[in-house]
Symmetry: C2
């Protein structure tokens, strides 16, 4: 096991009816900016629940944060935070709204220069970002319990990740997910699954508890997926999906083990260039990551084959092939296609992505830092 340092300060309020608890968590008398996305929260009752539970606060709102939230929009929100002397932000939405809100919280307190520099020049995040809480509406990204914000710059078609800040609290009410389109639930399952793989499918470091907890999330996602996709929605299945998605990326399973994240870096470029949903880019990329990096990931791929898919027959390479096929089949089975052709993506996109990553200096991706442009093309060629 590798050394590690771990602290996760987010208070999780989980379960039906928990939105009412924001009244205990948002500071009394605060000037609150409620941030949200395309307005679905006004149709499904979440907006009303939130507003009803903020008595005594001055509440402003900022809607229209996009899927893959863009810098240009978020900077306008940061201006509102400054101009209106906002002292608490409440993000109500999925990963995009939450990520966007983290950026707003930092941008509003960024003194000299452009907060985009945090992403491209690794300038420091302000020590005191605007405090914020979240009401999660989409189980997928884990943003409700991690500090990462992935932001897109529309003008340059860049989508980049950075650790920004943790929420003070996050409300996870599985009932809030009932109005989600099936496509978003499908995406959430794939996203959470891929998050676990990024932290699990590397090389062994004698961390059997971390391995088993990661496997617990994978097995539970596979088990719960059919019920989680049912309509009318099933509370218990949605609750389990929500907790799996949070646990998949709250830092716990990453402690003491190597991490990969090459699939995500490739996927971010794919989304930035094509607009494809994040989870779809992961479904396209991951089978190739497993195949192209099968030497680096050999031991863990065999463990994954056996413990997750119960694959025990055949040679080692055959078992790995079966595990890759099972993974693709799982993604497709929950409704997320996994080939370029399914989304009319041109084959040339692979080379473009490889070059863009190389241009950014990201040519040593993966847990062994050996995935460069050639390997990126090889990974993507697996899913044409």
């Amino acid at each position: 096991m590798e050394n590690f340092e771990f602290l996760n300060p987010v208070k999780i309020l989980f379960g039906k009816g928990k939105i009412a608890k924001i009244n205990d968590e948002v500071p009394a008398g605060a000037r609150v900016l409620v941030t949200y996305g395309g307005g679905s929260i006004k149709k499904n009752g979440v907006y009303d629940q939130v507003m009803a539970n903020l008595p005594g606060r001055t509440v402003l709102e900022f809607g229209g944060i996009e899927a893959n939230p863009v810098y240009e929009t978020l900077m306008k929100a940061a201006e509102v935070v400054r101009g209106e002397k906002i002292d608490f932000i409440l993000a109500v939405g999925g990963g995009s709204v939450l990520d966007g809100t983290k950026f707003i919280a930092a941008a509003a307190r960024y003194e000299d220069g452009d907060p985009w520099d945090i992403y491209t020049k690794h300038t420091p995040v302000p020590a005191l970002t605007v405090p914020f809480g979240t009401v999660l509406t989409l189980p997928a990204t884990g943003s409700e319990m991690n500090p990462v914000a992935v932001i897109t710059r529309a003008s340059t078609k860049e989508k980049l990740p950075s650790a920004i800040a943790y929420a003070k609290f996050s409300v996870i009410d599985p009932e809030v997910t009932y109005s989600l389109p099936t496509r978003q639930v499908s995406n959430g399952i794939v996203d959470a699954f891929a998050h676990v793989l990024e932290q699990y499918l590397t090389y062994p470091v004698n961390a059997p508890l971390q391995d088993r907890i990661a496997e617990s999330i994978l097995l539970t996602l596979i088990e719960v997926a059919p019920a989680a996709l049912e309509n009318p929605p099933v509370y218990e299945a949605r609750a389990t999906l929500c907790w799996c998605a949070t646990m998949a990326l709250n830092g716990l399973i990453a402690q003491g083990v190597p991490q990969d994240w090459s699939t995500h870096m490739i996927g971010h470029e794919m989304t930035a260039l094509s607009g494809l949903d994040h989870a779809r880019t992961l479904a396209i990329t991951y089978p190739g990551t497993m195949a192209a990096c099968r030497k680096n990931k050999h031991a863990k791929l065999l463990q994954y084959a056996e413990r997750i898919w119960n694959i025990r027959e055949g040679s080692e390479e055959q078992r790995i092939d079966k595990a890759i096929a099972a993974t693709r089949s799982f993604f497709e089975g929950v409704g997320v296609k996994s080939h370029f052709k399914d989304y009319d993506l041109p084959a040339s996109l692979a080379g473009t992505i490889a070059k863009r990553l190389d241009d950014r200096g990201w040519n040593q991706l993966g847990e062994r830092h050996d995935i460069g442009p050639k390997e990126v093309e090889e990974i993507l060629s697996y899913s044409m």
Copy 2:
């Protein structure tokens, strides 16, 4: 899944050499009280490591905190904290030193009356306890990442638990455990295993991820136990044991599920009356808890039999019997005997414990609140 609220604010510093990090975590210029137990830290180098990494602080010390720390000793330490205007406490030791330090941190700030009232009259813990950190030397109790302090009153032979406060940080260096007597490593394995059972072996509430994470800890403890007991010590095995013990009782696996804790309440009385090691009381009690509560725990006992012990043959009752026997065999296998006669405890102790719990009003123990004096005697009769 049941609703829950979860926040764990402890910063974990895990791995070899991490004691040096206390210099970054203990406030600069603080007046620090270092608390410890019988002095083993002065023989194994831990004391020297700690003292070498507190430059610029005024450091006082308070040694002699007992196994099963007693109120009378801790109140003296609280007087030192007050008299010497201590503003940070650093606990260096196992669960007893850590639990004792939590009590000291609260007692020093307890304004009116006797802080023992927190335990017997449920008076509030002071809002601002003295901040403290920990350097853990014994993987077992999880005290390094939970707020509970179990304190013993010598004069009345009472041993009672209460949630007090979280550490600001906890250092877990597996190398520090190398000098532990085998008996304490054995006890730690049993203690961690029992902590998981208290939160897992109840009734199903459709919480498959929590179940699998609990099972992950149990399976890993079983797997790592032989190597963890080896001499000379094996780093990787000690590291895994440490992380299992922390994860067993940091609150995570308790979220959204019922909990039992009757075995611990019985065990605390047994220790208070007989002085027996905590883990030994758990090894004696747990087989009986499983047997006597087999109706309440029926479904989870079958799941435990199958997933932990791979017991799939025989009738349901036979499988449960096998799982209970396997549990006892595991405790004995790691070196913790599990019968009254092994420790020369009189059979009459069962009745005394049942009566004491009843006298305290604790006659509705367990996840179904149906374990009274009769059931306590039945549980203990299983391990004479």
